[in-house]
């Protein structure tokens, strides 16, 4: 018995970095096999998600204790693909597994049964595997492959049917088409950028690339193609992260996707863009920072302003949240573009806090939509007596996004502004502060519109309007708040408050990450020395 346990322990510790990806990839076909047995599927999905969360926690703990972990896929040695788990990767894997677990629990009740069994579970696990892969890979081309896995599976998930849909399938198709077309274009440009780097430097291993580009920068001038590739990477990852001139797909896609997937898209998938910028631009292409930092800062400020101002005028609940995501990712990218250790640490804190708060807000919005059968804020009102839990949860989320103490959002916003002050970036600070006020306005306007005022009886309202046909899938029955819908909201709410009241661990971890990113010596020596090459 003990030998079996120690065997499992050794197995887990040996393959710790690989296991989240491998399990995700394995679960996709298993779920396809179980597609006629919804009960078994549910049990398997929940078990595996808890397992993934446990593995992510172990990975995080081990990386925190023992430093960077390297895994050589296929034991190919010099030409192989490595997976690298450093603090940044481990933190984001933990975050993804945490949000992923609760989004999955939420989906049990929210997604329509046939859709759930036939395609939702396999694609969901495939998407999780893709996201874990993006966070953990140490190879530039492998990053592209995992990007594609994540992108294609999320495209399928956007089309999943909700149990009680308020969205036209024509709108869904339009949004998916935009998402696909822009995603394909982004993938193509990413390939061009990767090929450019490979043709110039002759390697795809991130640590190797970082070391070689550092040497090139020290010995002479950097070839212009590397600078061009760096700027192209801003376009590619900016497309994923909804940087402003490339943001217009997001307010279509995030609201039309089924709510759990909206939570996943806004919580994790746009953070993938920020993560990749951090990894590729700051780890590998850092010597070109004089070129990309000002550009990134300009567009980050533009993103903050456009997102916040657009969110003010929206009447669609999920669209407000989507535009808010655009604005908030601007704050994260602003933190990156300031370039100091404190600013990057603040950006990472911001990223984590926003991911938790925004996925919680989307899940809450889903519950509200199920109650009112509409996404239109003008048809809501007075729900505070009917949905006390949701009103509390939405208030916590709104306070966190707007940056009120004692929520997590306050700490991260405070740290970001403090780093801007200490770095003496006065103009960006001014714009960011101004838009923070706008954030307060649109978040609380939304909350008041939903929960205060008179109950307008949105069901009758929809019937009275003859031009808008009532969707066939919207019967008069109310969708009861089940435990599957309430539990994720409460859990994420608790996480937001805990990170606000007790922020020291996250602050410390973010500082470690920022130091590791700006001084990649440990990363390079561990990867190049650790793997057999």
């Amino acid at each position: 018995m003990i030998s079996i346990l120690s065997g499992i322990e050794a197995f887990v510790l040996n393959n710790l970095v690989m296991l989240p990806i491998a399990i995700g990839l394995l679960m996709a076909p298993v779920m396809l096999f179980l597609r006629n047995k919804p009960k078994a599927q549910k049990i398997a999905a929940i078990t595996v998600s808890v397992l993934l969360l446990a593995l992510a926690a172990i990975l995080f703990w081990i990386v925190y204790q023992d430093g960077i972990q390297v895994y050589d896929i296929g034991e190919f040695g010099k030409y192989g693909i490595v997976l690298v788990g450093d603090m940044l990767s481990a933190l984001l894997v933990l975050l993804t597994a945490f949000i992923g677990l609760f989004v999955l629990i939420y989906s049990f009740d929210y997604i329509e049964k046939n859709s759930l069994s036939a395609s939702y579970y396999p694609l969901y696990f495939l998407m999780l595997a893709g996201i874990f892969g993006i966070f953990l890979t140490g190879d530039l081309f492998n990053l592209f492959v995992f990007f594609e896995i994540m992108f294609l599976s999320s495209t399928g998930l956007i089309m999943a049917n909700e149990a009680l849909s308020v969205t036209d399938s024509a709108h869904k198709l339009e949004a998916t088409y935009k998402y696909m077309a822009l995603g394909m274009l982004g993938s193509f440009m990413m390939l061009v950028a990767i090929v450019t780097i490979y043709a110039t430097v002759g390697s795809l291993n991130m640590a190797d690339l970082a070391a070689k580009i550092q040497i090139i920068a020290e010995t002479g001038t950097i070839p212009w193609v590397i600078i061009a590739a760096a700027l192209l990477f801003i376009v590619v990852f900016g497309n994923k992260a909804a940087l402003v001139p490339l943001h217009f797909w997001l307010p279509d896609v995030h609201p039309t996707a089924p709510t759990p997937i909206s939570a996943m898209l806004s919580g994790i998938l746009i953070k993938v863009g920020a993560y990749c910028m951090l990894r590729v631009l700051f780890l590998i292409l850092y010597p070109t920072k004089d070129f990309f930092l000002p550009i990134l800062m300009f567009f980050a400020l533009l993103t903050i302003a456009v997102g916040a101002i657009s969110a003010m005028g929206q009447t669609d609940l999920k669209r407000v949240l989507a535009y808010s995501s655009v604005s908030q990712i601007g704050y994260v990218l602003l933190g990156l573009s300031l370039g100091t250790t404190a600013a990057i640490a603040a950006a990472i804190m911001y990223l984590v806090n926003h991911a938790l708060a925004k996925s919680m807000l989307f899940l809450t919005a889903g519950g509200i939509i199920h109650e009112t059968h509409t996404r239109d804020l003008r048809k809501m009102g007075g729900l505070i007596t009917i949905l006390p839990l949701f009103s509390m949860a939405f208030l916590v989320g709104a306070m966190s996004i707007a940056g009120f103490p004692p929520m997590g959002g306050f700490i991260s916003k405070f740290a970001l502004f403090q780093s801007a002050v200490s770095g003496e970036f006065w103009l960006p600070l001014l714009i960011a502060l101004l838009m923070a006020v706008v954030t307060i306005f649109y978040m609380f306007r939304t909350w008041i519109a939903i929960f205060w005022g008179e109950n307008k009886g949105s069901l009758k309202e929809a019937d009275a309007d003859p031009d808008v046909p009532v969707p066939a899938a919207a019967p008069a029955k109310k969708h009861k708040i089940s435990i599957e819908i309430a539990l994720p909201i409460v859990a994420l709410c608790a996480a937001v408050i805990i990170l606000g009241v007790y922020p020291e661990p996250l602050y410390e971890i973010s500082n470690i990450i920022a130091t590791q990113i700006l001084d990649p010596t440990e990363y390079i020596t561990t990867v190049l020395g650790g793997a057999p090459r």
């Binding site: 393959n15 690989m18 491998a22 990839l25 076909p29 396809l32 050589d72 296929g74 034991e75």
Partner: protein
Amino acid sequence: MSTVIVKTMARAVLIVAILFSIYLLLNGANVPGGGFVGGVLFVCAIALVYVAYGMKYINNRLKPDYLSWVAYGLLFASITAIAPMIVNHNYFRSAFTHYHLEIFGIHIGEIELLSSMFFDIGVYFTVIGALLFILTNIASDKIKETDESESDRADLLGESEDFSLKPKAPVKTGATNVTADITANMTANTAANTVANTEEFK
């Protein structure tokens, strides 16, 4: 499309194409080919049969469930990748061995047996399942025919029996009036109905 020539050729080509696709699959580890290309060739052969004989012909005989092909293929591929982890190697580690093939004591040649071949087989089935799933789904999509024109014609000819139908659209009032007049002249039986109808429209 489905002339005798196409049908006959489809039968002849099917066997050759499938054999060649299996050859591509098994040969593709180190030379051009492999699971994906082999799978696509297999799909081409099957698609030719679909074109020649039609959906119904195949569905009546086989009732293929292509989604489970995808599931088997993916499972096969991921298990191949995970298997080395159980024997203390890394994910995707592959092993190979050489095997002398002899028949009746005559040396035929040397075969390279690769464990990554199983991965290729998984890819092969995934590609076949996914492509045929897409093709058959698109092919079985029925175009909804609008029966509006037919019902109009029926109205004009007085063939329509059900006059108590709800008025379809207010735009058509004029046309229905004309039909109502014609039918009222033609049969006394439906006259009461039509009068009621016309009055409703006015």
